[in-house]
């Protein structure tokens, strides 16, 4: 966590807002469309256990692209990145620890 005080950050004033160029947006848009096509295509293949893995991997890639570029996180402060990370982490705690109970219920004899 930053030790500097709240106001000092704003004194400089110059800390100009990063404006993302539309070209980047267009590139991301196409990447997302390709991702959508790829994930639909992959779901029609017989890949066994890899089907959900691929679907989730593509979904995560798309989500990361949106977060980084459309939501400007790539150009944002560390605090914003930390916030996103905290959100993902707590989500994983909720899912992971709940699932851990369900998975380990099958161990042992009851």
């Amino acid at each position: 966590m930053s030790g500097q005080n709240g106001h000092a950050q704003y004194k400089e004033g110059g800390n100009a807002h990063h404006i993302v160029s539309p070209v980047v947006y267009v590139v991301i848009l196409f990447a997302l469309i390709i991702g959508t096509a790829a994930t639909v295509w992959a779901s029609f293949l017989e890949l066994g256990v890899w089907n959900p893995v691929i679907a989730l991997a593509i979904a995560c890639t798309k989500a990361i692209l949106v977060v980084l570029f459309f939501m400007h996180v790539k150009y944002s402060s560390k605090l914003t990145m930390l916030t996103v990370a905290a959100g993902v982490f707590m989500f994983l705690v909720l899912v992971g620890m709940t699932l851990a109970d369900y998975i380990s219920r099958a161990w042992g004899n009851w």
Binding site: M1, S2, G3, N5, H7, A8, G87, M97, T98, D101
Partner: protein, 553 residues
């Protein structure tokens, strides 16, 4: 008069400053549409007290019913509704918002040297949400009540009761969003609105505690919100997420519910701990022992608090291995609380202690919270939890932490900052009496319940085997004393609004920024942005400050 405690201003000349946040505007609308965090805090204080006394009246009914082993005062059905509403009102409409929404709202901007919270409109919105939720809860009571218990256990709440589960759920849902917005506001304010020189490690511990609690509010509350939504959908259109007859797992509801409701107890207690840190430092005139340890223990409680929820489910048939993990993590979360208790104790060491009312409440807090915390370990230990859970032991433990801990801290804080909020002192002698009465009444009420729990008396029973009666009579008798202890402050605090001695800026000679401005403060809090040039709880700085002032006069 002594060297450290300055005298109150001479009563004949003392005046409440003409310009202050209370006098700035008049009329009901100026309150209902205000963006001023201090006015919103007062609105909260009034509405919270209202709900506290409704919840308290319900508690009185519960204790009266339990005076005899038979369900004779009311039918079991009525009793079930009474304890459900007691739980819902006390938890969602008193404990969760209590310290943060009143004292936190009032003080956080002042403590960090800001003019207001970052999002004043959201702050007002969260008060309106709170009131809307509260009115819905009251409506539920008028419309026949609800008898699921505040835990909304499925499938009871979805398929087996015909009472107002939907309105109660909606009330809790709305109150949840009120709490989310409060927490969100605090986090943003603490990050972005600190005055020049106010570094993280110069923040008062009150602010640290609220920061930790806010993280919990923001991350945990939405999970119970979605659980309530699913219950509502299950009741209305009959979806099958928790319904075992359709293949759902009712334990999943327990997971989602406790993912919020366990951190919720830290949401309730952490701000109280913040109050204790401030009070104990001020009245021993000493920096809090191990400032960093206390600050980090707040954060540690918040973080570990997320990993322990399933200790509410030890006997429900979750995996034994999950029980191991959750039990171990529960032990870890107990440690920061122990650290806090000892650090507060050693704050007294070599201090110069005075025993004003807030300090008495603080001593009460330390004793009762120690008992409450240690009995929590009984329940976190998986083996003894089997015997003690779902009995009056749980009830006693929870009330020791929440009423003995949280409510004592709330009252300590209200008394401590009363001069700042109103500009007037509360009457000292009678308030000391109230503190002592509360402490005695509390122990009478809830200590017997530990024994009842060990004996195995289940909670939420309208009738019970006769051999439990004597302890229940003790408990009910204690509750009447406790009731007196809670009524007294209302009377004398209201009295003091008009007749209390004028307090002056800094009656306690405390170091926080909130004390370095007039009482009651201006709407903008400070005449100009303060600059923090010293550590928190720096009493030597305060001394130097006063010398300078004397010299300049």
């Amino acid at each position: 008069m002594s060297a450290t405690i300055v005298s109150l201003p001479d009563q004949s000349t003392a005046r409440i400053p003409k310009m202050n946040y209370l006098s700035k505007e008049n009329g009901l609308l100026s309150w209902l549409l205000t963006g001023d965090h201090k006015r919103i805090a007062i609105l909260y204080l009034i509405s919270l007290s209202f709900f506290f006394f409704i919840g308290g009246a319900l508690a009185g009914l519960i204790r009266l019913e339990l005076l005899t082993p038979q369900a004779d005062l009311m039918a079991t059905d009525t009793y079930n509704k009474v304890f459900t509403m007691h739980g819902v009102i006390m938890i969602f409409f008193f404990l969760v918002p209590s310290v943060p929404a009143t004292l936190g709202n009032f003080l956080i901007p002042m403590m960090i040297g800001a003019k207001d919270l970052a999002l004043p409109k959201i702050n007002l919105l969260s008060w309106y949400l709170y009131v809307a939720g509260g009115l819905l809860a009251i409506y539920t009571m008028a419309a026949g009540g609800v008898d699921t218990g505040w835990t909304f256990t499925t499938p009871l709440s979805t398929h087996y009761v015909n009472t107002n589960v939907l309105t109660t759920g909606l009330a809790a849902f709305i109150a949840g969003f009120s709490s989310i917005f409060t927490g969100l506001n605090f986090i943003v304010t603490i990050h972005k609105m600190r005055a020049p020189g106010m570094t993280w490690f110069r923040l008062p511990l009150f602010v640290w505690a609220h920061y930790a609690a806010s993280i919990l509010m923001v991350l945990a509350t939405p999970v119970v919100a979605i659980a309530i939504v699913l219950i509502a959908l299950e009741r209305t259109i009959g979806i099958g997420v928790f319904d075992p007859t359709k293949g759902g797992d009712p334990l999943l509801f327990q997971h989602l519910f406790w993912f919020y409701s366990h951190p919720a107890v830290y949401i309730m207690i952490l701000p109280g701990m913040g109050v204790i840190s401030e009070v104990i430092s001020t009245f021993s005139r000493k920096r809090v022992f191990g400032y960093t340890a206390v600050a980090f223990s707040s954060v540690a409680i918040a973080v570990f608090g997320f990993f322990v929820w399933a200790h509410h489910m030890f006997i429900m048939g979750i995996s034994n291995y999950a029980v191991l993990v959750f039990s171990l993590l529960t032990m870890l979360v107990a440690v920061p609380s122990a650290i806090k208790i000892f650090n507060w104790t050693f704050t007294l060491y070599k201090g110069s202690i005075t025993f004003e009312t807030p300090m008495l409440y603080t001593f009460g807090f330390m004793g009762l919270f120690t008992i409450g915390g240690l009995t929590g370990v009984f329940l976190g230990t998986s083996g003894t939890d089997i015997h003690l859970t779902e009995t009056y032991f749980i009830v006693a433990h929870f009330h020791f932490v929440m009423v003995g801990g949280m409510l004592m801290a709330f009252l300590a804080g209200i008394h401590f900052w009363w001069p700042k909020m109103t500009g007037r002192m509360y009457p000292e002698k009678i308030s000391q009496l109230a503190a002592v009465v509360t402490f005695i009444g509390f122990n009478f009420t809830f200590f017997p319940q530990f024994i009842l729990g060990t004996l195995g008396m289940p909670r939420r029973y309208a009738s019970y085997p006769p051999e439990f009666q004597i302890l229940n009579v003790f408990s009910t008798a204690g509750a009447t004393i406790l009731g007196v202890g809670y009524l007294l402050p209302v009377l004398y605090l209201v009295w003091s609004l008009k007749y209390g001695a004028v307090a002056g800026n800094n009656p306690w000679q405390a170091t926080g920024l909130e004390w370095q401005t007039q009482s009651p403060p201006l709407t903008e809090n400070f005449t100009s942005t303060p600059i923090m040039d010293h550590e928190a709880y720096d009493y030597e700085w305060l001394e130097r400050q006063k010398e300078k002032e004397v010299a300049s006069v």
